[in-house]
Amino acid sequence: MPITLASFLQIDLPAMLAALLATVSCGLLGNFLVLRRQSLMGDAISHAVLPGIVLAFLFWGSRATWPMFFGAACAGVLAAVIIELVRRLGRLDSGTAMGVVFSVFFAGGVVLMEQAAAHAVDLDADCVLYGQLEDILWLAPTGLASLLEPAVWADMPREVTTLALTLAVVSAVVLLFYKELKLTSFDPELATTLGFPAGLFNVLLMVLVAAVAVAAFEAVGSILVIAMFICPAAAARLFTDRLGRQIWLSLGFAVVAALGGYLLAASAPLWAGVPSALAASGMIAVVAGALLGVAVLFAPRYGALARAMRLGELAEARERAAAEPLATNLSNR
């Protein structure tokens, strides 16, 4: 398919925008998840929102944004609460509690979805798992000139506007409570003694994660969203010790992953010799993973290579130190 300006504006631009907004929102929150060792909470919540989405869908009978958003957010927060309850009441480790709760939620979602499919409606498991970036179309613009008309902008796909709104809310909350989030992430005990309710900020973060997971899942799916939460932040964490710098860096990685992944997938007919484009959401996760892989291996201070070299130097120095007194002893004798 030849790429024209109109097809770019109608097909590629909205998908890229959705991918960009989703990865940036996820990447922003991911910084705090990685620092708090709650990376898998993003995993658990994004699996657990499924029954909420299906129930909202069954109840309202359409894929309207707000009911589904509401159902998913309820399910996500409920799952987070139940995980905590099971962990405390059952005296289980958090990994087991998460595994039990989110798989039961997801199973409930799968069974419900099968019932929903009985009503002959368009909700299938695939779009939940992988998202449907390719189906986000912006039919209004026909050329650059049409971008000046407000009516064209009003026709912006629902997924994109939802994601933009989510990003705005998430950035506002992070900016507003930056100090508190930072403190409670690094030292929850200190935060509590200083009078900041660490538990409350934990809940706030979980609600934000649920909201972003829901907003992003339509675009990239419930499993790939985890890559967007974790990979940019984890890669950035290997480059710097300062939280502010880490966040900016992670946002940069998120942008690279979103645009790079989309373009790589869309241009697959050119480089892979396949008849049509490959899955963009999967490719974004792969690029994000590749960025993390590079960081893991080659980051200047904390990468595996730098670490191995430091350890090697250390061992060398130790050997030298061990050899020296021996030499002097021998010469004295």
């Binding site: 990685v34 060792r37 709650q38 990376s39 898998l40 993003g42 995993d43 009441l89 059952g90 289980l92 480790d93 990994g95 087991t96 998460m98 595994g99 039990v100 798989s103 039961v104 997801f106 199973a107 409930g108 799968v110 069974v111 099968e114 019932q115 499919a117 009985a118 498991a125 798992l129 992988y130 499993i223 969203v225 985890i226 890559a227 939460f229 974790i230 990979c231 984890a234 964490r237 290997l238 997938a265 396949v274 049509s276 490959l278 899955a279 959401s281 999967g282 490719m283 974004i284 996760a285 792969v286 994000a288 993973g289 993390l292 893991v296 980051a299 904390y302 595996a304 670490r307 191995a308």
Partner: protein, 451 residues
């Protein structure tokens, strides 16, 4: 997606019994046996994985199998073989699952990233890679693409005799292997340091454990799918944990619950149209988990609450008896007004205690208060003696001031065993801190005037 017919919504009792007793057709029965064996093996292997806190590692592993399955499919088709060959696909799944686990270990060992971030990253990136290859497969000119989807969601409907046989054989193998390695796994789960001291290679034992999880996960993909197979490994053992403090009992219970979940889930999926087996199996397992969490006698929530209430009641009883005794000692009359005891004992536990002591005939209720019966006096004497012995001990050995000793003694005395009391007496007698008569030593601090 189900084995059964699409006609009626509710199967009759006869149909249900037919399926449950393996008479619902040869294919259905074979699937039922295979999935039950899978549940047993997963419960057994999962017991060790959960105790070793590898629950989410199993999740990572199962998600990481997708690129292996898709790559095996692509390679098989390119070489002109069938992309439906189960052994080929499962081999690919196992390889990439293991690669995923090794990547997690590499990241968490050689960088500052915590293990959970490494697991999340590997899980989602591997899955993303698998999805990209899946989209490549969709463009391939072969009619076999549909076969891949059943590894993601699991499908018992299309399971044939060969599938079920493979599952059954692997399940039996892993069951045998985990029984053979029972001693090693137990030590690694409970005391890895001791295992190291004994000269055992922990990493090797962990590897064996992970290999068994890989085996169960990979064959489980076909039945319950790669997202939900973790549930079979995690939920039954987590539920079994509530029933016992003994490892082998836990392993047996986990295997039973796992097998039962698989059996009931597969049967329900065969009976009801539109009941996907994977989801139903997990929901059944989740139901067992909920029951265990609430009602299991050893560690269940209700049992724990009941035990706590009983402990509170016993403590309140002892306070009540001692309060009555000390009130009499301080010169009050036989009958102590209930209001005078309120500072010592109050709340629901105290009411419970009072009711029980009255019923046991240790305390008599009078219109103007409470009175110890002769039997109650004897018991109160014993309790007061314990309390004072402990107070003396704390003053002699822990240098507590007489004015503070009452509260400190309160914290411990209720759990003193009779052996401990004898030992206390012996030591205090040796130090000359006990009076010669058999009654309790005098209180070291002024008694709150009970009357």
């Amino acid at each position: 997606m189900s084995i059964g017919h699409e006609s009626g919504v509710w199967p009759s009792l006869g149909e249900t019994l037919h399926v449950l007793t393996f008479q619902g057709g040869f294919n259905t029965s074979v699937v039922l046996v295979g999935v039950t064996l899978l549940g047993v093996a997963a419960g057994l292997v999962g017991t060790f994985a959960v105790l070793r806190r590898r629950a989410l590692m199993s999740d990572t592993l199962s998600h990481a199998t997708l690129p292996g399955i898709t790559l095996a499919f692509i390679v098989a088709v390119m070489l002109g073989a069938s992309g439906r060959s189960l052994p080929v696909l499962l081999a690919g799944a196992a390889l990439s699952g293991i690669l995923g686990v090794l990547t997690v270990q590499f990241i968490s060992r050689h960088t500052r990233l915590p293990e959970d971030a490494a697991m999340g990253a590997v899980l989602s990136v591997f899955f993303g890679l698998g999805f990209v290859m899946l989209s490549y497969i969709q463009t391939m000119a072969t009619g076999e693409q549909g076969g891949i989807g059943k590894f993601i969601y699991g499908q018992t409907a299309t399971m044939g005799v060969t599938d079920a046989t493979v599952i059954g054989i692997v399940a039996l193998g892993t069951t045998l292997a985990s029984l053979l390695l029972f001693k090693e796994f137990r030590l690694v789960c409970f005391d890895p340091d001791y295992a190291t001291v004994l000269g055992w290679r922990i990493s090797l034992i962990d590897l064996a454990m992970m290999a068994l999880v890989v085996a169960v996960t990979v064959v489980g993909l076909r039945a319950v799918g790669l997202i939900l197979v973790i549930a079979l490994v995690v939920i039954p053992p987590a539920a079994a944990r509530f029933w016992t403090e003994r490892l082998w009992v836990m392993a047996v219970v986990a295997a039973l619950l796992g097998g039962l979940s698989g059996y009931l889930g597969a049967a329900a999926s065969a009976l009801f149209p539109r009941f996907p087996a994977g989801g139903i199996i997990v929901l059944v397992a989740g139901f067992f988990f909920l029951l265990s969490l609430l009602f299991a006698p050893a560690r269940g929530v209700l049992a724990a609450g009941f035990r706590q209430l009983r402990l509170r009641r016993d403590i309140a009883s002892q306070h009540l008896l001692r309060g009555l005794f000390e009130a009499g000692e301080a010169g009050g009359g036989e009958v102590v007004p209930a209001a005078a005891l309120r500072s010592r004992v109050h709340g629901p536990a105290a009411r419970l205690a009072l009711a029980r002591l009255t019923w046991q005939g240790l305390i008599a209720r009078r219109p103007d208060g409470l009175r110890l019966t002769p039997k109650g006096r004897e018991e109160a004497l014993r309790i007061t003696r314990n309390h004072r012995l402990w107070e003396q001990f704390l003053m002699a050995y822990a240098d507590l001031a007489p004015s503070h000793v009452d509260h400190s003694a309160d914290l411990v005395e209720h759990v003193l065993s009779s052996d401990m009391v004898e030992e206390l007496e012996r030591q205090l007698k040796a130090r000359g801190r006990l009076p010669r008569h058999a009654g309790p030593p005098p209180s070291p601090h002024p008694l709150a005037s009970g009357a």
